[in-house]
């Protein structure tokens, strides 16, 4: 019960932050209103849609909390830029900081992913394989986050954005392949 409440509270707080920042940006940067409108509407629509599917709500809410945190960090950066808190000559540093923050969120997300007990039904005949998939995904995300963070720390700022996507794409590809093979074994 407490775990469910924590997941819900984390998701609500993170999404509320995304919405507040989107409204602020809508007012502060009117020339890009369509972006802030999309940013503000995406999370609640996706979350509501997923809740209606009624599948494993706790893990869904944890995932929403992580996604919304990354979005809120990006919006916070945009607000800081719009308010002039980031001087133009400091923009590269701020961008690097933002990249590192997103990388660390992925590290944290990967670290706790195998702890989510809701994903594994111990009575299921596939419990071992489900648990292995969960652990694998956690390790991949953890390493992807570390690589992403290191790239944002070490790579030249002009190439960092593009380079940081390489481990993310690779990691998501590896997880997708593992899920596909898991499903094919499960359906046989």
């Amino acid at each position: 019960m407490t775990r469910s409440r924590n997941a819900l509270a984390a998701a609500v707080i993170a999404v509320a932050l995304v919405e507040a920042f989107a409204i602020a940006l809508f007012l502060l940067v009117p020339e890009k209103r369509e972006y802030w409108l999309i940013a503000g509407l995406t999370m609640p629509i996706l979350w509501a849609g997923a809740e209606l599917m009624k599948r494993n709500r706790d893990s869904l809410r944890v995932a929403v909390a992580y996604a919304a945190t990354i979005m809120a960090v990006c919006e916070g950066f945009a607000i800081a830029r719009a308010m002039g808190w980031i001087a133009p000559d400091n923009e590269a540093f701020a961008l690097r900081f933002l990249g590192i923050a997103c990388g660390l969120v992925i590290v944290f997300m990967g670290n706790v992913a195998p702890k989510n007990a809701a994903c594994v039904d111990p009575a299921s005949p596939h419990a071992g394989r489900t648990q292995a998939l969960q652990r694998y995904s956690g390790w991949v995300l953890f390493l992807v986050g570390l690589a992403n963070t290191l790239i944002w720390i070490l790579a030249p700022i002009k190439q960092a954005a593009l380079l940081s996507m390489v481990p993310v794409a690779l990691g998501l590809g590896l997880i997708a392949i593992r899920i596909a093979s898991f499903r094919s074994v499960r359906s046989n």
């Binding site: 195998p114 702890k115 111990p122 652990r135 956690g138």
Partner: protein, 99 residues
Amino acid sequence: MSSVFRAIADPTRREVLALLRERPMSAGELADRFSVSKPTMSAHFTVLREAGLIDATKNGKSIIYRLRMSVLEEALMGLAQTVGLDLGASAAERKEETP
């Protein structure tokens, strides 16, 4: 965090965690793999559960344990296992060696 260190410091508990990495197992299934008494095993399960490394679910008459280790906790256990290699044979190995 100290409860995690305490939990993984013991080779028997590390071995329980290694077994649970394969799949969730019942308390009886786990206990059968070790030569220690059931109350001792039960105490080990309690320490692991209190550290948040395993989870217990009641399934009929048996209790099923499953792993709940984060990536860092697993890495820490791997390190403890490597460092602890010279501590001697593990409990399961000792059982195998017993005629």
